[in-house]
Point group: C2
Chain length 230, copies 2
């Protein structure tokens, strides 16, 4: 089993780490500043923050900087916030990402103009976060997948009964095949993994977020996913 | 039964006209220039164009200018190409649209930069075609719906077995209710019509098109739709 690096310590990163540990993977989760991350106070004056509490309970997951995690991982997952992803990956360093599969799960959502967020203009429509990462790290094999749903479903599709779908796209066919095997481990059936071709399809899958957020608002729950029926 | 105007003589407009006639509605389809539309030659040197042939076979549908159609209709459907919609609606005239429901089915797709098309930047992300129409015609009740699927399914959801969904949004609740009744006539069950709230949700539903086009490319068929499962 390949060693897996997770860049980003938010809910998405934690969810992947816990699930990958359950599945027997050796995992390191990476952040910008390790000591800051652990020592930052929690919300409402709590002594510990959510990540520090999570990490005490999930100490099978190794914890380090973006650079240490990327050096450790044979496959790297990007679960950072989309607006920070390129900076996080630069801290991970090009050398540590070279030749590796980078599974990009992030979305270029811009929350700075209020809710609901829009997509970052220069990372959408005629571009995408995934493509920008690929351009910035040409020797890394970027695979976009899982970014169109709530993170609980990403790593455990059986949370929802019946068929529902997950898109995948990449410029590297072999990388796509390897990521599909990881998706299978999470519980994704091949017939529910929709191969949309090369990485430019990420323009489409990242643009699912605006309608996803509106459905989430209407349903008051993120525990849903899309299916394609014909 | 209310009289219905359809702005736009392409496949989508024709599909609505035929179906609405079947359902007993009195329909007028509108174009920019009536005589040009009928006299233009067909593809590959054919004497008649597709619309002229269609109209001979569907002569229950009245045919006129955008302005005549909008004056005739009590409900107006926008099935023009998204990049032309605002011009078409200006030709329909503000006076003819005032106080009426305008069902906006168009998408602001820009095919000028090659395939796949992108969304028109100024009509997407922090704006939408539907919102721009609403801003331009403040006394018209704009309702966005049906724009996320192939037109055959729009007017006949039973073409696909089982549940699949159609979004609706508008700033006018009464208009939304009336359009839902029309959707019911097409065969849409209330439980499959997802109310996303006000018209800004069109930013999300219009942004479905980029992924829709990629799925269409992967499946080589437009005879599919999305369902939401939870």
């Amino acid at each position: 089993m390949k060693k897996i690096a997770i860049l980003g310590t938010g809910t998405v990163g934690q969810t992947f780490a816990t699930r990958l540990n359950e599945l027997g993977y050796d995992v390191m989760i990476g952040t910008r500043n390790v000591s800051e991350k652990l020592s930052a106070p929690g919300k409402d004056g709590a002594a510990k923050n959510a990540f520090a509490i999570w990490h005490e309970e999930n100490n099978k997951t190794k914890f380090g900087t973006f650079e240490e995690a990327a050096a450790f991982g044979e496959i790297v997952l990007n679960t950072t916030q989309g607006t920070s992803s390129l900076n996080a990956l630069k801290l991970a360093t090009e050398k540590n990402l070279e030749g590796k599969i980078l599974v990009d799960i992030a979305n270029p959502l811009d929350f700075s103009k209020g809710m609901p967020p829009c997509l970052v203009p220069e990372l959408s429509n005629t571009n995408s976060l995934a493509e920008e990462i690929q351009k910035t790290f040409p020797k890394t094999k970027v695979v976009k997948t899982l970014n169109t749903m709530w993170c609980g479903i990403m790593v455990n599709p059986d949370l929802i009964k019946g068929d529902h779908i997950n898109y995948i796209c990449s410029n590297d066919e072999a990388a796509k095949t390897e990521v599909k095997l990881l998706l299978n481990k999470f519980g994704w059936k091949d017939s529910n993994i929709i191969d949309l071709g090369d990485l430019s399809a990420a323009r489409g899958t990242e643009a699912v977020l605006p309608v996803w957020l509106r459905i989430y608002g209407a349903k008051k729950s993120g525990a849903f996913n899309f299916n394609i029926v014909s």
